[in-house]
């Protein structure tokens, strides 16, 4: 005989939760690239509010639970503060283009190099490891500050943190893979690079991190391919550059959204760009910019040794020019390019002087 308790009929299960739900009857259809985030932006689920009062971690579109704790304390609750039109697309792209620093880099192709070349590679790897710490830490803070109602940009930033984590480890691996090791820290994270983390507004942070900072690092990664001495280094820089270009794209598209939707903030954003460009002009933001340990390492690598330093420096200057040209074109793409025509930016003058 069963010992299970026999409940009276009136004690049936309370299945009230079954009636509390978001919009029902959704039938998302996979596109050619699978079932992407863009494919599930249907009905009310694809419609983020302009201002969110969600402080509880409720997934966008889910039914609210009135007794939920306010776990979030989210500071970013206005869509325009963080939004961009193609965040879902960039997120899916990030997921589908991941790589492994352990197995996708042909480490076996690294052979002993001349001492000065190895030391320069290790100095650069030390610098890049340090910089990538910042690039991972900064977006991470903004993820936890943003309401879950704007999950698309949040997920892009989550993917960026993963990318930066891989960059940190791959340059550390390079430093330790060929008879060298880590070298002198640049101190950059305590200076200009670290100051990115002082931003109290997302757009301010993004202009510093994604547009100016990562745009510069993108050029360095691309340059890395030019100064690679084996297939492993070639692959490292090429794969890092891909990731970095995606982060830059996030910044460009956010800035473009701000240009189109927040005219009241245009002047403020121009000030952020003023500040970023002062760093570009001072060259204190990236090793292609001025005379630092890392820039000397770059010149040695580009020239082919410390005895060919001047050749390397000339290549470095040419690349810096392209770095500035690309920055100008990116800012133009955001819609804030008038600064290059009305005399506000000094970068065009700098390029003209360089050409003269």
């Amino acid at each position: 005989m069963s010992e299970a308790r026999v409940w009276p009929a009136e004690a049936d299960l309370d299945l009230g939760w079954m009636k509390q739900r978001g919009e029902w009857g959704m039938k998302a259809t996979p596109s050619k690239q699978g079932l992407t985030l863009a494919d599930i932006q249907i009905g009310s689920y694809g419609d983020p509010v302009d201002r969110s009062d969600n402080q509880t971690g409720r997934p966008r579109g889910a039914a609210a639970r009135p007794n939920s704790y306010r776990i979030g304390g989210y500071a970013v609750v206005n869509k325009s503060e963080i939004w961009l039109e193609n965040a879902s697309f960039l997120y899916e792209e990030a997921l589908q283009r991941q790589w492994s620093s352990a197995t996708d880099v042909p480490w076996h192709t690294i052979k002993p190099l001349r001492d000065d070349i190895e030391q320069a590679q290790c100095q650069l790897a030390t610098f890049l490891t340090e910089v990538e710490f910042v690039a991972g830490d900064v977006p991470a803070r903004w993820i936890s500050n943003t309401t879950p109602d704007y999950f698309e940009p949040r997920q892009c930033l989550l993917a960026q943190v993963m990318d930066e984590s891989r960059h940190m480890d791959v340059f550390r691996k390079r430093a330790l893979a060929n008879g060298g090791g880590l070298m002198l820290t640049s101190g950059g994270t305590a200076g200009v690079v670290g100051s990115i983390d002082l931003a109290r507004d997302f757009t301010e942070m993004s202009s510093r991190l994604h547009i100016s900072g990562e745009g510069a690092v993108l050029t360095i990664f691309r340059m890395g391919e030019l100064m690679a001495y084996n297939d492993a280094e070639k692959a490292i820089y090429r794969l890092c550059a891909q990731d970095e270009a995606r982060h830059v794209a996030f910044g460009v598209m956010h800035m473009r959204y701000m240009h189109e939707t927040a005219p009241e903030r245009h002047e403020e954003i121009q000030c952020y760009l003023d500040e970023a460009e002062r760093q570009i002009l001072a060259g204190s933001q990236n090793p292609a910019g001025n005379q630092t340990d890392a820039s000397e390492a770059l010149a040695i690598l580009l020239g082919g040794g410390k005895d060919k330093y001047d050749d390397g420096l000339n290549k470095l200057l040419a690349i810096r020019k392209r770095q500035v040209q690309e920055y100008i074109k990116r800012v133009r793409s955001t819609g804030f390019g008038a600064r290059f025509d009305n005399g506000r930016s000094q970068l065009t003058e700098m390029l003209n002087q360089a050409a003269a």
């Binding site: 050619k32 690239q33 899916e92 792209e93 589908q96 283009r97 991941q98 790589w99 492994s100 996708d104 993108l218 691309r222 340059m223 391919e225 030019l226 690679a228 001495y229 084996n230 297939d231 070639k234 090429r238 794969l239 550059a241 891909q242 970095e244 270009a245 995606r246 830059v248 794209a249 460009v252 598209m253 473009r256 040419a318 690349i319 392209r322 690309e326 074109k329 990116r330 133009r332 793409s333």
Partner: protein, 144 residues
């Protein structure tokens, strides 16, 4: 297969699409319309998702539709393709990014001048490299 020709780019696409290893290791989803300018001949190559969905020869003016186009003299295209054929992939001197940086005016250009779209050359660089590396498996003859 004769280079440059629509059939050559499509033959490379077939090899590229047939090898799943090109979808990993930093390859994968790629959505762009790439142009290729070989002397006075012009091509548009479409990438959608993990596939290269086709190439067609176009008039020069139609390169405006491309997110970016790769512009090299026929002799330089030939050197790159021969390098890929002899190594099975581009060696240190012939990757797309190196060819871009080696040229004062770069390898990748656009008609529209929008850096966001030109940046797709960097964002999808590994996939584009895989695509051209796939040409190692296409028997290639050169000439107009």
């Amino acid at each position: 297969m004769r280079f440059p020709s629509e059939s050559w780019f499509n033959a490379v696409a077939e090899v590229f699409n047939g090898d799943e290893s090109f979808q990993g290791g930093g390859g994968g989803a790629c959505n762009t319309l790439m142009g290729a300018k070989v002397g006075d001949r012009n091509f548009l190559i479409t990438f959608e998702g993990v596939e290269c969905t086709g190439a067609r020869e176009v008039k020069a003016a139609e390169l405006e539709a491309a997110d970016f186009y790769l512009d090299m003299a026929p002799a330089d295209w030939r050197a790159m393709i021969q390098n890929i054929a002899s190594n099975g992939h581009a060696d240190l001197e012939y990757t797309l990014n190196t060819l871009d940086l080696d040229r004062e005016q770069g390898l990748a250009h656009s008609v529209h001048g929008d850096q966001y779209r030109e940046d797709l050359f960097f964002r999808y660089n590994q996939t584009l490299q895989y695509y051209f590396d796939a040409s190692a498996r296409v028997a290639t003859e050169f000439g107009q």
